[in-house]
Symmetry: C7
Subunit: 96 residues, 7 copies
């Protein structure tokens, strides 16, 4: 199956609901095979988290709904992989 294989998102969320609840909700989406949520920064009212979603033909609109239903906001999409095979970002001589 083609379509989106991986999405890496920078997300701002209130402390509640917790990242556990958000992780479970995302993992239940139909084309998602797994999700990783990592805390980047904690502030008094909010926290910045990094979400890595992997699957086959991941539906961004569905994903965005689940995230926004939890009161969170997507700040940016930092990486996308699409196609029949997951391709990693390759370090070149220009990245050094």
């Amino acid at each position: 199956m083609t379509g989106i294989k991986r999405l890496v998102l920078d997300v701002l969320k209130p402390h509640k609901p917790s990242i556990l609840e958000l992780a479970k909700a995302i993992s239940k989406l139909t084309h998602v095979t797994g999700v990783n949520l990592s805390i980047q920064e904690v502030d008094t009212e909010t926290e910045t988290i990094k979400i890595t979603v992997e699957g086959n033909d991941v539906d961004f609109e569905e994903l965005e709904s689940v995230i926004e239903d939890m009161g969170a906001v997507i700040h940016s999409i930092d990486e996308v992989a699409a196609g029949a095979r997951l391709v990693e970002n390759v370090e070149t001589l220009q990245d050094r």
Copy 2:
């Protein structure tokens, strides 16, 4: 099986009971396949430890009970992975 595959916790605990006893207690939880406890900082009365729990459909409430029964407190959940497959946090160009 879906649900929580990995949890990384930042925990403050008294020196006793030891991390050996806490490790054994966590490893006996039904959906836990393994646990790693690493000492981060030692103070006169307490120690800060990092707990990595892996399993299938790990029950956070059960885990929290076992930790609190040992007189320890969860300071933060630093990482969660959920779904049919364990997804790692992916380093992007924005993390450099």
Copy 3:
């Protein structure tokens, strides 16, 4: 099959269409097996992204059309791999 196996491009694009749409469009090209888009820098009107395309006998003209149809411009081709087998850039003593 021989021909181009991997292309790494430095691309400047307007914020819209998003990298999701660009990723999907590139992944649909006939000889492309997968593509990775990573955000390098974000400015008010534009963003600089790094595109890694892998496949068998990737057609650069087709790829360039898809990118330009989205209002984006290829600034440079940073790496190319071609042949029957994908060869990685090897670090030598002269690179240190």
Copy 4:
């Protein structure tokens, strides 16, 4: 088999008996499959060593006895892994 899978210890010992003898003695314990001893610091009368013990259901009391019988003292337990599967300490965004 569950129980302790790995223990990492910080140990202070006199120069004699040598780390060879201590390694052999530890490796003979019933649930130990292997042990690694690495010299961390050497002083006039003593040396600080790091001991990594792996096995299935490693018995800490037995291990402690063998170490103390050699005139050495366990300063701290730096890492413990327990369960059906050996789980490694995972680096998160909070460790950077």
Copy 5:
């Protein structure tokens, strides 16, 4: 088959023909299984590229002809591997 297995070259070339054309031309040589071209530095008239060629019994004269036919010049051969098996450069204590 023995002979040259890998060659890493430091090459100066005019901007045109592009590295795509050079990559395709090199990949068509009889004993070449794959080639990687990476941009090292771009100047107004020229660019310095690093070429990694792998194959069985690679013919340096043929390779040099293809490169020079594109108006490019080999500045140096930085690494060569030859024999029945590709041997990597091994880091020793003297390289640190």
Copy 6:
């Protein structure tokens, strides 16, 4: 088979016999499967080398004899692994 699986030694030796002869002599010992000798520092009369010996139930006395017969002296044993399985030194949060 249990016993010593790996030994890492810090050795001072005269320039002659060469490390080639010492490597061959060590590799012929009954329980040794392989040995690596790396030059650490060269002085006018002597050189400091690091010896990594791997095998099953390596006999330290035999090894020491071979080393001393070549006019060399063991300065320290830096690492020992013993048991049914070779266990590596594991990096913990305390090593950072």
Copy 7:
């Protein structure tokens, strides 16, 4: 087969014959399975190269002859591995 499995040499050579010719000549030696030559430093008349030779029971005298026949000189042997199995140099806590 036992004997020398790997040799890493520091060699000074005139610019001609090139490292290509030296690589081919070394790869033709009976017990050599592969060789890697990497340029370390280039001077007006000479160049310093690092040679990694791998094989089974590599004959150092033969190797030295081939190198000297090309007008080159072995400055030092930086690493040797010998035995039934190639053992790598292991990093210990003392190397940090």
